[in-house]
């Protein structure tokens, strides 16, 4: 009977844990409703569906939402029906429901944010031919779907250069989310960047297998730092928040220790002003704003795929932390590489196979 009770307690803790897991997020995004007012009355409305990372994941989804908010403000739209809005997904099963709900609410353009939403967007686009859809990070071939891809490898390459010029132990870490093509682009670009700037530095590559597990990110980061890495880059969405937590904690314990973290998707300097070296920015916000504007002007590029790279200002490197010891050298090197990439002299590898044959001139 005693066992009975222990089991009961355990199962309750587990059940409560999973249920409460989703409650921990702060939700300030919903509060700051746009007060843009009615500058001009438009009938155009736009909405997005986040993947499981949620709208406040401090990276990918949040960046898209910021783009949408910016678009709303510029056009005097209000948050809500008939303006701009978002829905969050907690599991893969929610994607279809959320996309369909927004289409049914009469939004003109609905974004599926993330590679994981490919099938859902594909299915719903057929069902709702009158609504325009857009998918970020993958291609869906439908007349009413626009696809947005990024050259993540170019931003990651610059981050790799910055990391290589900063590291003293010649030991760098990379934390990936799930092993999907998008993250492979980040990984390949980053490794190529390190190789180009400092071939003798080694990079420890690890995947967490999830985009929403900050505790896992922290565990991996902790292992990397304790095994001698002094710069760690993450491309893991909300999982990467654990990296900043770990780096911040270590820095607090020993302020003289030189450790750095590199952010992703948006300028993540706010995650730890003392430890964030820079961020490999993927301007989902720029793309979202850009595409929304096109759609509003009646020039929705349905069936097409837009690719945003350095050249289009769709990706880039955030300003390097002013506390970095050799900020000037990094800035100079990054600038040179940007020129080379933009001019096409250097083609940054986007897959592991391309990375094998990559050589920096």
């Amino acid at each position: 009977m005693k066992k009975h009770k222990i089991g009961m307690a355990l199962s309750l803790v587990l059940a409560a844990g999973t249920l409460l897991g989703a409650c921990g997020k702060s939700d300030d995004t919903t509060k700051d409703q746009a007060k843009g007012g009615d500058k001009e009355k438009t009938t155009f409305s736009v909405a997005m569906v986040t993947d499981v990372g949620g709208v406040d994941d401090k990276s990918f989804n949040q960046s898209a939402w910021e783009g949408l908010q910016g678009f709303g403000k510029d056009n005097g739209l209000e948050k809500g029906k008939g303006g701009y809005d978002y829905l969050q997904s907690t599991s893969d099963a929610d994607y279809t429901t959320n996309l369909n709900t927004l289409a049914r609410q009469g939004f003109n353009l609905v974004y599926g944010i993330g590679f994981l939403m490919h099938d859902a967007v594909d299915g719903i686009a057929k069902q709702q031919p009158k609504t325009n859809f857009a998918i970020v990070d993958d291609e869906v071939k439908q007349p009413n779907v626009a696809s947005v891809l990024f050259k993540e490898q170019e931003a990651a390459f610059l981050a790799g250069v910055a990391a290589a010029l900063t590291t003293k132990s010649n030991h760098i870490g990379f934390i990936g989310g799930m092993e999907i093509p998008v993250i492979e682009r980040f990984e390949s670009g980053f490794l190529a960047g390190v190789k180009a700037a400092k071939p003798e530095a080694k990079v420890d590559v690890q995947y967490s297998g999830a985009f929403d597990k900050a505790e896992l990110g922290q565990t991996i980061a902790s292992k990397m730092y304790s095994s001698g890495a002094d710069v760690v880059f993450h491309a893991a969405g909300a999982t990467g928040n654990g990296l900043f937590k770990e780096a911040g904690d270590l820095k607090k314990k020993d302020p003289s220790r030189e450790i750095w973290a590199i952010g992703v998707d948006r300028d993540q300097n706010d995650m730890g002003p003392d430890v964030v070296l820079t961020s490999a920015m993927k301007r989902v916000d720029v793309a979202v704003k850009d595409l929304s504007t096109k759609a509003k002007d009646g020039k929705f590029p349905g069936g097409e795929t837009a690719i945003y790279g350095l050249h289009e200002d769709g990706v880039g490197l955030a300003p390097v932390n002013s506390k970095a010891p050799n900020k000037d050298a990094i800035d100079k090197a990054v600038k040179e590489w940007v020129e080379k990439i933009k001019s096409g002299d250097v083609k940054v590898p986007g897959t592991r196979d391309e990375l094998k044959t990559f050589s920096a001139k």
């Binding site: 222990i6 089991g7 429901t97």
Partner: protein, 347 residues
């Protein structure tokens, strides 16, 4: 007040208390609870489409709830429903993708495969419990992780059709139907709900109407007494875990054959198995109770998706669900109050 009535009233009071406390939390944090509940209701019943989605969500919840409840009745805590669910999902998709058979054979075969996979996954902790008295809670938790990573590995390396997911199952194995989908203006509802309801009957019949069920319940009430009465406790422990795993496996088949039609690499646990624990608790571990509890959870989960449209974060619904679970777990409190109340009534 009869014991039966109290048993019925306890979960209802738990739900009400959860909603009341949730409302207070909304008020304190500055959200309008009326808007929130209207959005919730709209999100679940706004039109037939939403209701179709609710039914789709309820289907795996019922089966996962049955799985937890069945083991519970025999005195076992099957925390491994999540893992059994995942292996069942993969097994069903594997049959759906690999074979080409007429529907009448294909669907039952796929479900059977899911049952076998789930049953096998539960057999291991059952055997360890029966033979070596290893606590099933520990083993099943471990088995969850093994299931998650093994299945991800298989999907990624053996069945990957690009983008980290398996190919689509053949039409003949699909539980989806044009007719149902059109009826609910294009929702992802599927025939799985019928299977889930049949499973409710099976569980009720098995436990209440058969000798084997009597034995299983006897083991649940008191192992020593059951042993003294000449029943094989070990055999019943293993059997109950396997049946529980079968239910969980079928729940996985519902996702594989109905909702998705494929299996993708999972970034983490789906939560269906863990929600099953809450469903079973709220449903008092009876077949009919599980059905209604799953219905409530499905409504809350789907309804919550639309709440951000009313400016209310959907996490509030998770809080309400957590509160309901809390009050069910603390049902002793409610029972005492109810009994006091009924005694006064007699005076």
């Amino acid at each position: 007040m009869s014991k039966r009535l109290i048993n019925l009233l306890t979960p209802i009071f738990a739900v009400l208390l959860g909603i009341i406390l949730g409302t207070i939390i909304m008020l304190v944090s500055g959200y309008n609870p009326v808007d929130a509940f209207i959005a919730l209701g709209q999100g679940a019943f706004g039109d037939v489409y939403q209701t179709g989605e609710v039914v789709r969500q309820v289907t795996p919840y019922i089966l996962a709830g049955l799985a937890v409840a069945f083991a519970f009745r025999v005195g076992l805590f099957n925390i491994g429903v999540e893992g059994q669910f995942i292996v069942g999902w993969l097994a069903a998709v594997w049959v759906g993708v690999t074979f080409e058979l007429p529907t009448i054979i294909h669907i039952p075969l796929a479900i059977l495969a899911a049952m076998l996979a789930g049953g096998l996954w539960a057999f291991i902790p059952g055997l360890l419990k029966a033979r070596f008295r290893v606590h099933e809670v520990i083993v099943t938790i471990m088995m969850n992780y093994i299931a998650l990573h093994v299945v991800n590995y298989i999907v990624n390396t053996k069945m990957n059709q690009g983008s980290s997911k398996t190919g689509k199952i053949h039409e003949t194995a699909s539980l989806r139907s044009e007719w149902l989908s059109n009826l609910t203006t294009g929702s992802s509802i599927h025939w799985g709900i019928i299977i889930a309801i049949i499973c409710c009957f099976i569980m009720w019949f098995l436990l209440e109407k058969t000798t084997r069920g009597f034995e299983l319940r006897a083991v649940g009430f008191n192992q020593d007494a059951a042993h003294y009465a000449g029943m094989s406790v070990n055999k019943n422990i293993i059997l109950s875990m396997v049946i529980s795993g079968c239910f969980a496996g079928i729940a996985g088949a519902m996702e594989g054959l109905g909702t998705f039609g494929y299996m993708a690499v999972q970034g983490g646990f789906t939560g269906v198995g863990f929600n099953g624990i809450a469903v079973a608790l709220l449903g008092g571990n009876t077949a009919i109770g599980v059905f209604f509890a799953a219905l409530l959870f499905g409504i809350l989960k789907i309804g919550a998706l639309s709440m951000p449209l009313a400016g209310v974060p959907k996490e509030l619904v998770d809080i309400i669900i957590a509160l309901i679970v809390f009050f069910v777990a603390a049902s002793y409190m409610i029972r005492i109050v109810l009994e006091r109340f009924s005694k006064k009534g007699v005076k």
